[in-house]
């Protein structure tokens, strides 16, 4: 099972250019770097807010959590270190992300398998969660 990354750019105004990123399939160690790369490219293109549509995501491994967290850093203008690249990754980034949900990356369409992992690991508390794309975009 692979992962498809479907990107819809949405006009979100000059203050928060937004993209909806649909993840379809399984997010694991084999493809989590692709998600991080997609986030980097969107940021370079001027996108400052992401809505991740996870309605097609049937599985998320622990590496997938690294990808979700890295997207928050990317949208905040911080360059996350390459999570697979030795001491550079080990030393370059200091962060404590306990300050409650940020708004630059929001989730929607979470199914039970993904929800279980987000709840078990506590990573769900980092995100505002919406039932679907429309609700996420309306939330601004």
């Amino acid at each position: 099972m692979s992962l498809e990354i479907a990107i819809d750019r949405v006009v979100g105004g000059a203050e928060s250019p937004t993209a909806v990123v649909g993840l379809v399939g399984e997010l694991d160690a084999a493809n989590y770097l692709e998600v991080i790369d997609a986030g980097r490219r969107l940021y370079e293109d001027g996108i400052r807010r992401l809505v991740l549509d996870l309605s097609g995501l049937t599985f998320i491994a622990s590496s997938g959590l690294v990808a979700l967290h890295s997207l928050i850093l990317i949208m905040a203008g911080e360059a996350p270190p390459d999570p697979e690249n030795g001491w550079g990754a080990f030393h370059t980034l200091a962060h404590d992300v306990s300050g409650g949900p940020q708004t630059a990356v929001q989730l929607c369409g979470i199914g039970p398998a993904v929800d279980r992992v987000l709840v078990r690991t506590g990573m769900g508390r980092l995100f505002l969660v919406h039932p679907d794309r429309a609700a996420a975009l309306a939330a601004g």
Binding site: L93, H95, G122
Partner: protein, 384 residues
């Protein structure tokens, strides 16, 4: 690239053949003046009109020249033009051949470099895997009345599972158990694992209470570690005399409790955020008593996420079924059953993640002997 490397003597002879009946001589010479083809009148007229056109083969430079000569009288413009055309044509041929040869050489060099790089990565991976294996205990602590078993198989691409089992330093009645998984892959995951294992052990030794040990480890990771990666971890502390078990988990899969008397198999509902992401965890610790014959079974997501050739996941249901089938047998038997069931399910599909199982069973009252056995899929090779 030399002229003779590209064009044989026959081809060169053909190129000059149209001038055979001409009063104008034409010759093709190499860069060092050797005549390799000649036709028509005297090839190297010592006197008279003579016109020489260098053969330029692009980046290969000047590789020779085309010479037209006439013993007497002036060279006609047609002969000069013919010499120029011929020089251009030969130059293009030699240049193209030089480019082809250059590309072949570069490709060969790239392949050598690629093989060298591949070999370097493979040897780094092999070293990392050996190091990773050294992070798990070789010898189970001997605990009378208790039976310990483990299984540990790192994935090909190094990941970050590790486990530990040890008697607490100043509380010899207590057995500390740690199982953990660093999120992500690669060298960074292995380094974080190497950094975290002694931290967790020291925290258990010092605080005795699982939740407090995890809080303390998290505090150090958040304050001092700078990584994009996180750790899921579970700590259990067992009083080996009373059987009192205390467990806390930070983002880790909840363990299974196998009850001998009732045959019940239940998840121990411990949960909390993973290590390294949040300033505070606010973990809730669970306590229960393991009676004779009961077992605590801890595992990492490599077990439940193991995939069949069809892409299906092994999952919690199959894990429970395999554990249930081993009810009443030793910790090692239960671990073996789960591993066999998982490997049958995988049917040769390569594991994407490390697989770790750790089982601790309080021996039935009639069994006095210590049944601790430690199983590892392969012995570590640190000697190379």
């Amino acid at each position: 690239m030399r002229l003779a490397d590209v064009l044989s003597a026959d081809v060169l002879a053909e190129l000059v053949a149209p001038f055979a009946a001409s009063p104008t001589a034409i010759s093709i010479e190499t860069i060092d003046g050797q005549v390799v083809a000649v036709a028509g009148g005297p090839a190297r007229a010592s006197s008279g009109d003579r016109y020489s056109v260098p053969i330029s083969a692009g980046r290969a430079g000047i590789v020779g020249r085309v010479v037209v000569a006439r013993r007497s009288g002036r060279l006609d413009p047609v002969s000069r033009a013919a010499a120029e055309s011929l020089a251009t044509a030969i130059g293009l041929l030699v240049g193209a051949a030089a480019r082809t040869a250059r590309r072949a050489t570069e490709r060969a060099e790239r392949e050598v470099e690629h093989r060298r790089e591949h070999g370097r990565i493979e040897s780094e991976l092999a070293l990392s895997r050996r190091l990773q294996r050294s992070f798990v205990p070789l010898v189970a602590p001997e605990v009378a009345g208790w039976d310990l078993a483990s299984y540990y198989e790192p994935a090909r691409e190094i990941g970050g599972d590790f486990f530990d089992a040890f008697r607490l330093r100043d509380r010899r009645r207590s057995l500390g158990l740690v199982i953990a998984d660093v999120t992500g892959k690669g060298i960074a995951a292995a380094l974080l694992m190497a950094f975290s294992r002694p931290l967790l052990r020291a925290a258990v030794d010092r605080f005795h209470a699982p939740a407090e040990a995890l809080e303390r480890t998290n505090h150090i990771l958040v304050a001092e570690r700078h990584s994009a990666l996180f750790i899921t971890a579970l700590i259990a502390v067992v009083d080996v005399r009373s059987g009192l078990l205390r467990v806390a988990a930070a983002g880790h899969e909840p363990p299974l409790i196998l009850r001998a008397a009732s045959g019940a198999l239940e998840w121990l509902p411990v949960r909390g955020p993973l290590l390294g992401a949040f300033g505070r965890l606010d973990l809730r610790e669970r306590a229960l008593t393991l009676y004779h014959g009961d077992m605590l079974l801890c595992y990492t997501d490599g077990v439940t996420d193991a995939r069949s050739p069809a892409g299906e996941r092994f999952g919690e249901r199959r894990l429970r079924a395999a554990a249930r089938a081993g009810r009443g047998s030793s910790a090692q038997d239960v671990v073996d059953r789960i591993v066999e069931s998982m490997q049958r399910f995988q049917a040769g599909t390569a594991a994407a993640d490390d697989v770790t199982l750790l089982a601790v069973r309080r021996l039935p009252a009639r069994k006095a002997e210590d049944g601790s056995r430690w199983r590892r899929s392969r012995e570590p090779d640190l000697g190379t």
